[in-house]
């Protein structure tokens, strides 16, 4: 783990849904659901968060964010992947229309 500031991956968007936070990696069309209690923590990444400043209650979530590429160290770019994003769009499969 590096020691710089972490910010949201530039492809990450999120919003509150009914009972949870929906986090989307818009480049790879991957969705994650997060408990609402982490909304404020997510917002902190706009300014940048140092791992050392993360409280005990958020530490495991911080590490998950790193592992899932939801956050990246400031200045770093997420790695490109060759994958079929259309497969992830449920409406593309138009069920024998």
């Amino acid at each position: 783990m590096k020691m710089g500031k972490y910010v949201l991956n530039k492809h990450i968007r999120y919003r509150k849904e009914d009972g949870y936070i929906l986090v989307c990696n818009c480049k790879r069309l991957i969705d994650y659901e997060l408990p609402l209690k982490y909304f404020r923590f997510l917002k902190e990444f706009k300014e940048g968060v140092k791992k050392g400043d993360v409280g005990k209650e958020n530490l495991s979530v911080f590490e998950d964010f790193c592992a899932l590429d939801i956050i990246v160290e400031k200045g770093e770019q997420p790695q490109k992947k060759r994958e079929d994003v259309f497969k992830k769009l449920s409406y593309e499969e138009s069920e024998f229309v």
Partner: protein, 344 residues
């Protein structure tokens, strides 16, 4: 160039995109018709960039160098690029993709190929979309070789949907059952060996697998997805816009209301209500988001089960199975799609 009346202008799309981003919409799928012939397409692309709105683009690949450069410029926001290519040569590709004079045009085929090769050289991932019809159904293996050469991320193959304009051109329809199942399987296998994912859409014969579980619809329309048509009309999905008459649902326009108000409005609520009313006797109706547009398309009545459910009527426990099957057979004959679905 002819621009259909009442289409949203580039400036209006900018207002729409702003509204979408304000309301936390994550991304859009720009398709058509052919979106790249919109007179303000560059302005539309720039608007996506200004609003940092991720997008998917579905196109015929006939665009010129200015649009191609813009696509490369916007790669960071580009989620996926789907390009139509129907055949391995200009005749099969142009069979249903005519030029503005309704002619099969060799230059247009060459231009699409050139753009695909340029995208490949620039490392922009793309997907090839092929629609099967009478003009290409027997050239699928030659087409596969071209696809292997172009190295898309994926290859989507579909049939022509029996709705909208296709009603006037039923003679061009080809069923996937016109090619042996083993050939479809081989295409999928060879492409997979070359890291190309093949997806058969609306092709029950090609994609058939023995399923133990009971089929039911899990539809994202009006739940996590909706369509904004080029004239601003907002509907749960394209099929709903095309097939549901206004006596059922009168869809609203993004020019008049915010996406938030339409999404939470009474029309979308009614659509959800209709689609959650399961079919009589169905054992999985509590889980099913029934496809209302299909029921209306085939039977002019939202209460009828869609064709695929009728095919599985016994497994699902539907009532009046014999009557439903006879009615569907009759409709398939009427629509000249008697090979559409296999009903015993």
């Amino acid at each position: 160039m002819y621009v259909p009346p009442n289409e949203l202008t580039g400036k209006e799309w900018d207002t729409v995109f702003k509204d979408l981003v304000t309301n936390n919409v994550f991304y859009v799928n720009i398709s058509g018709g052919e979106p790249t012939v919109h007179p303000d397409i560059i302005e539309i692309f720039d608007s996506l960039k200004n609003h940092q709105l991720h997008f998917i683009l579905t196109t015929n690949g006939l665009f010129g160098s200015k649009i191609l450069s813009k696509i490369v410029e916007l790669e960071d926001l580009l989620i996926g690029l789907k390009i139509s290519l129907d055949g391995p040569d200009y005749l099969s590709n142009g069979y249903i993709r005519r030029d503005v004079k309704k002619q099969i045009n060799e230059q247009e085929f060459n231009r699409t190929l050139k753009n695909l090769r340029t995208l490949k050289e620039n490392g922009i991932p793309f997907t090839i979309a092929t629609c099967i019809h009478k003009g290409n159904i027997n050239k699928m293996h030659v087409m596969m070789n071209l696809v292997l050469d172009l190295e898309p991320v994926s290859w989507y193959i579909s049939t022509i949907s029996t709705s909208g304009r296709s009603f006037d051109n039923l003679e061009i329809f080809a069923s996937d059952s016109e090619l042996e199942k083993s050939k479809w399987d081989e295409i999928k296998r060879v492409c997979a060996e070359n890291n190309i994912f093949v997806n058969y859409i609306d092709m029950p014969s090609a994609s058939a697998k023995k399923k133990e579980s009971k089929f039911f619809y899990e539809c994202p329309a009006a739940r996590s997805f909706c369509e904004i048509n080029s004239d601003g009309l907002v509907s749960p999905c394209p099929l709903a816009r095309v097939n549901i008459p206004s006596k059922y649902l009168k869809f609203e326009n993004i020019r008049d209301k915010s996406i938030k108000d339409i999404w939470n409005g009474k029309v979308f609520k009614k659509f959800l209500d209709l689609s959650s009313q399961g079919c009589e006797g169905c054992e999985v109706k509590d889980n099913c988001d029934r496809c209302i547009p299909q029921s209306i398309l085939w039977f002019n009545d939202h209460r009828f089960p869609p064709p695929h459910c009728i095919q599985n009527a016994k497994k699902l426990g539907l009532k009046n199975q014999k009557e439903l099957k006879n009615l569907l057979k009759q409709k398939m004959e009427e629509l000249e799609r008697d090979n559409y679905i296999n009903i015993k």
